[in-house]
Subunit: 416 residues, 2 copies
């Protein structure tokens, strides 16, 4: 059978230079979130097909890599249907596995449970620049904390991480699903139209306010509702607190503690942040997934069009799987985007290790050979990285290549 040298479409081989950066960022993620009390967890890459299908109803479910049944369970006679052929699939996010994990293991987990999950996910998406079919996601979640300590910690931890990676002047946008709901209801949009209204509002970045208005009109909403809605977004002043933004406009539609909470989080984040960044209230922030129930947030960098991290509170999802209510709040970090930005910026991984190459001529005597390995062992014990290789006849070229790998010292071992 033929052998195919390139990776499967949309998936990547990582060279040592790629790995150096990826490993560095992963180590920094683990270290930073550990400082905030997050514990790493791991779930299988393969999930029951039942758990992957018919959940969030979103685009992701169309993109599942499905796994064929095996042995007698695979029936190919008669009328064959796709759903009868598969029993599992590759996870397309880390949220479904986290829900299953918590439902399965909650008796053994602390409360609140602060989880860090770094792992690959798969989507049979059309590959394009920066979008892959296998990619690493990094999710942090706090389960079992209904207070806004959770949101504050998630934002502080994530901005601390970005600061350690050398990012400055990024922007945290924050909003609350309950404010989105209050705005729409106060204008007279019917309760069952909320999801569609949010989807249209979410396009503000791309099509502007006039575009949003046009789409609401096209969807057939009442003119009065649309005109009232417009007023909320006409003044894009970003300096306002959510309380200033709302004024009294949402009275009767919004519990006052929502505004208190948002202002409180924003204040704490500003006061305790270790990095330089803005945190702004943004009434146009929607976040795609329908499972959010409260605060939502996103981090964006001017250098990179879209967001590098996003998340929010989703108090109802985990409970559906557990059978008891579990408040939850999480942040998903765009690991691949962060790697791409760091590469674009020519980020250099800090490396303080001494690297020495030993080049051994062929047919070295046993005595010299043993002395060489002993010397290498001694250096390695002291923390030096030692590469032992057979010395090529053209050692000049060999050394050049080793220098490119970071070996700056050489020691040659000759036969006599």
């Amino acid at each position: 059978m033929k052998f195919i040298k390139t990776p499967v479409k949309g998936m990547n081989d990582f060279l040592p230079s790629d790995m150096k950066l990826r490993d560095y960022v992963i180590a920094l993620i683990k270290e930073t979130y550990a400082g905030f009390g997050f514990s790493p967890i791991e779930t299988p890459c393969v999930e029951h097909i039942e758990n992957l299908s018919g959940r969030q109803g979103g685009e992701n479910e169309k993109l599942i890599f499905k796994i064929l049944k095996r042995g007698e369970k695979l029936q190919l006679d008669g009328d064959v249907k796709e759903e009868d052929l598969v029993d599992s699939g590759l996870r397309y996010d880390l949220t479904v596995p986290l829900s299953r994990y918590y439902a399965n293991n909650r008796n053994e987990l602390p409360s609140p449970f602060k989880a860090l999950q770094i792992g690959n996910v798969w989507r049979a998406d059309r590959p394009q620049k920066g979008r892959f079919r296998q990619f690493t996601q990094c999710d942090i979640d706090i389960l079992g904390d209904s207070t806004n300590l959770a949101e504050t910690e998630l934002i502080l931890a994530t901005t601390t991480l970005l600061g350690k990676l050398g990012f400055r002047n990024f922007r945290v946008r924050i909003n609350d699903r309950r404010i989105l709901k209050a705005m729409a209801l106060s204008c007279g949009f019917p309760e069952d139209s909320l999801d569609q209204v949010y989807i249209i509002l979410d396009k503000m970045d791309k099509i502007g306010l006039e575009g949003v208005i046009r789409e609401l009109e096209k969807a057939g909403y009442a003119d009065g509702a649309i005109q009232s809605y417009r007023v909320f977004f006409e003044d894009p002043d970003e300096g306002r607190s959510c309380r200033e933004f709302c004024g009294g406009r949402l009275d009767g539609y919004l519990a006052p503690e929502v505004l208190d909470g948002l202002d409180q989080m924003t204040g704490c984040v500003r006061a305790a942040a270790g990095a330089e960044f803005d945190i702004v209230f943004d009434p146009t922030l929607v976040r795609g997934m329908s499972y959010y129930t409260g605060t939502i947030f996103e981090i964006e960098m001017a250098e990179f069009g879209s967001s590098v991290a996003g998340g929010g509170r989703y108090d109802e999802m985990i409970g559906k799987y557990c059978g008891e209510p579990v408040p939850a709040c999480g942040f998903s970090i765009g690991f691949e985007r962060i790697i791409a930005i760091l590469k674009d910026r020519g980020f250099e991984v800090p490396c303080k290790v001494r690297k020495v190459a030993f080049l051994a001529e062929k047919k070295l005597s046993d005595e010299k050979r043993i002395a060489m390995f002993r010397e290498a062992a001694q250096l390695r014990n002291e923390g030096t990285q030692v590469m032992i290789a057979a010395r090529n006849k053209n050692a000049k070229f060999q050394k050049e290549k080793l220098r490119a790998e970071g070996y700056e010292e050489f020691k040659e071992f000759y036969r006599d």
Copy 2:
């Protein structure tokens, strides 16, 4: 659709306590092999079905998790055959992906190329104690070095790793496929019977010498060959060098440099080893895979029946995929076995981090709240791990649970 709480059969959820050990061992693996000049690489978990099937012909190929084609490529009308339904599968080892990786990227890789690959592999095996359907493998390989510096470095690096994990008195068994061949041919076994003879010899551990003899007889080999073969294995003296073992018995069947090489590696490993272990020549060592061409080795621990690591030289495999000869030698470490042994031994991950829990009463004033987050930030900056959580009414129970997670200091923040 129903939601299934347990993981897919044979796959694992890892709790924070599991992850602590796994992350520690992985970090130690990376650090140790880096000291020997190994660079981490990563390949996709999904491989072309063509690359997974019809290669080594072994058991692994029967155990592939196959991935269904998508969209128009999936044809379910008419006579449906399994091979037409799939285009890829989950990798069952790291060797096939390494071969593809090297063939695809060799112009950008140094020579020799010393690779460390840690990743999950999947086998639809019958799950049993210690055998999983998703498990982590750890392979180190040196490509492009035909000298026995490669074998020596692989064994030194791997025994150094085991020593750092606290293992003592393990045993490295070493042999050479060319010695196995010379033994069989010198006894008169026909050349085309070698694979079967090796498979039978490989059972020595389980069925003993008499069992091996019986199976050779049952397979119909000539009595003279079998009786000559028996003589090689009658004296199980493990102290002998391979030269002492062979005496003059293999003259004419074996190139003398094979014995020189084995003795040389053994000597260097003994002289430069940082850990306490035995390295012994074992003429009954076979290693299952048919791709080995020279030295083979295995590390076993008395505490755990079978081997914890194994490998050898496979000079012909990579070349088949590259179109040019590439000498290669590798070691595969039984990551899950090592984890299981460490757990059995009650291994404690060294941890020197100070861990403090802040317990905040609900409705803390903004001022107190900000002071708390600032204090946490300060401590985190200094390397302390700080967990912030809402204080339960029953803080005694809460503290007990936090103590179990390693938090030994507590600070409580009250409303007034």
